[in-house]
Structure formats: structure tokens, C-alpha cells
Amino acid sequence: MGLSVENIEVGTELPPLVKHMTLEKMRWFSGGEGRAETVNLHTDASAAQRDTGMKQPFASGRMSLGYACEMMSRFVGLDNFSHTGTIDFKFIKPVMPGDTITVHGRVSEVEELPQGIRVSVDIHCENQKGEKTSVGSGSAVLPPK
């Protein structure tokens, strides 16, 4: 769902994105091919207990960041986001296997630049209890019309 420059304004709400977290997905993400450590606090209960005191592994914050990337890419177009996108995310509460995460976004700034229009979005993720799990922002530059 790309947008044209004309129909983006401050306050525009992005369509929410819903994701279901599972241990299997966490293992693909944090313990997959090429990883320095396939067994770690994001993939294994005993590692999580040993390293953090958590009883079960919790998802890498970068998974939530990935969800924010998807929401931004749907909004501004994958190609625009892949070449000009940014995400700045703070991880404020662990995401656990079984959690359902909803990503919310709202346009905070639309700025004209020589190379196009930069759209900035306030983004947060919340779990099924309505608790925020990560907060931050994203941006991308749309080419001028």
C-alpha cells in the first residue's frame, strides 16, 4: 500500500499490524543459520534463566523492530523504505512466546527535503494486555511527485 505525497499529513494513523510470537519464530530469528550462538537467552529457557533470571526465553527486541519495518514498508512502499528507511526503537518490556503484538503508528512530521518528502512516524508495540513493549519512531523519504 504505497501512498502519494499528497495524502500524507501529520496525525495520519497507519493501519495496525498484528503479530503472534512463538518460540519457533524466536529460534529462527535468534538461533538460525550463521548465528554465533544458536543457544541463547532468546532461544532456550536454561540460557534465559542463567543469563537474565527470566524463567523462559523472551524475543529479541529486533523482532519488534522488524514488525515496525513491515508497517513502515506497507505505508511508504517496500522500495522506498529499503533505501531510505530508519527505525529507532527502545525495548521497554519483554515479549514472550504466546504474546500477540500489535504495532501502531501515527505520522508525526512531514518535511520537504531536496531529494523528496521525509515522513516521520511515532511507533509503538503493545501486547495483548495493552502494555507497551517497545516505543520509538521510523522515517522514510518519498520521492517528489
Binding site: K19, H20, K25, M26, W28, F29, S30, G32, E33, G34, R35, A36, N40, L41, A47, Q49, D51, T52, G53, M54, K55, F58, S60, G61, R62, M63, L65, G66, Y67, C69, E70, S73, L78, F81, S82, H83, T84, G85, T86, I87, D88, F89, K90, F91, K93, P94, G136
Partner: protein, 134 residues
Amino acid sequence: MIENLSEKERFELIEVGSDEDLGTIVVTQSQIDENRKALDWPEAPFPVLHGTKPDSTKALFPPRVNARSIRQFFNPPIPGKKVTLRMRIVDKYLRDGAPYVVEQTTATDEDGRIIEVMTVHQLLRTKKVGEKWA
């Protein structure tokens, strides 16, 4: 021996401003596919590249927890291309008495295309997570 040092002593060994060559990796299609399955996003273009290489602060603080990530995207990686990872320690700080390090990694492919720049604030006292949330 690093394991005999206190947290404070290990934190003091982190050199802000130091640059580190994390070597090269080759991005594979299966890495990209695995990342897509993990995120439930069939078009996800950017697997996490810097999670594949240990760096010097990981030797001092083996388990770390990501507290904040800033990713800037420039070009999606191309499977089969070599990607060079360079990391710089840009800051370290204490918050609520707990140590953090800020590392910035730049991923550049063999054709000189910047893939992405990743800045990560790592919590080094990882037990803090369980103290707050377990």
C-alpha cells in the same frame, strides 16, 4: 582472566571510540528466508547481520540485552555477496547504576554498497531483566 574481573573493571576496559573489524559474512538466501519466516513477513529484505559476529565487548560481557536499536537502511543485501562489518564503540554509560555500551556497525557489500548502519544500546547487566520482569 576476564571472568575474575568485576563488572566495574570489565566496564572500564571498554574503549569508547575504538574501531573493530568484524570481518566478512556471506548473506545466504536461506538466512533471508529464515528471517522472513521468523517475522511472518514474506518480503522482509534485511536479516540481522551484526548478530552473526561476536565483538570485543561480547568477550567482556558475554550475555547482553538489546535496550535500544537504531537501524538505517540503504540497500537490501544480495544473496551470495560478501558483506563487511565494521563496528565502532560510540559511547558507554550508566543508567540506574547499570552499565550500557553503544555500538555502531556498518555493513557494506563487496560492491561498496552500504547495506545498513545499526546502532545498538546494549544492557550489560542482564540480570536486571529478570529482576524487573521475572
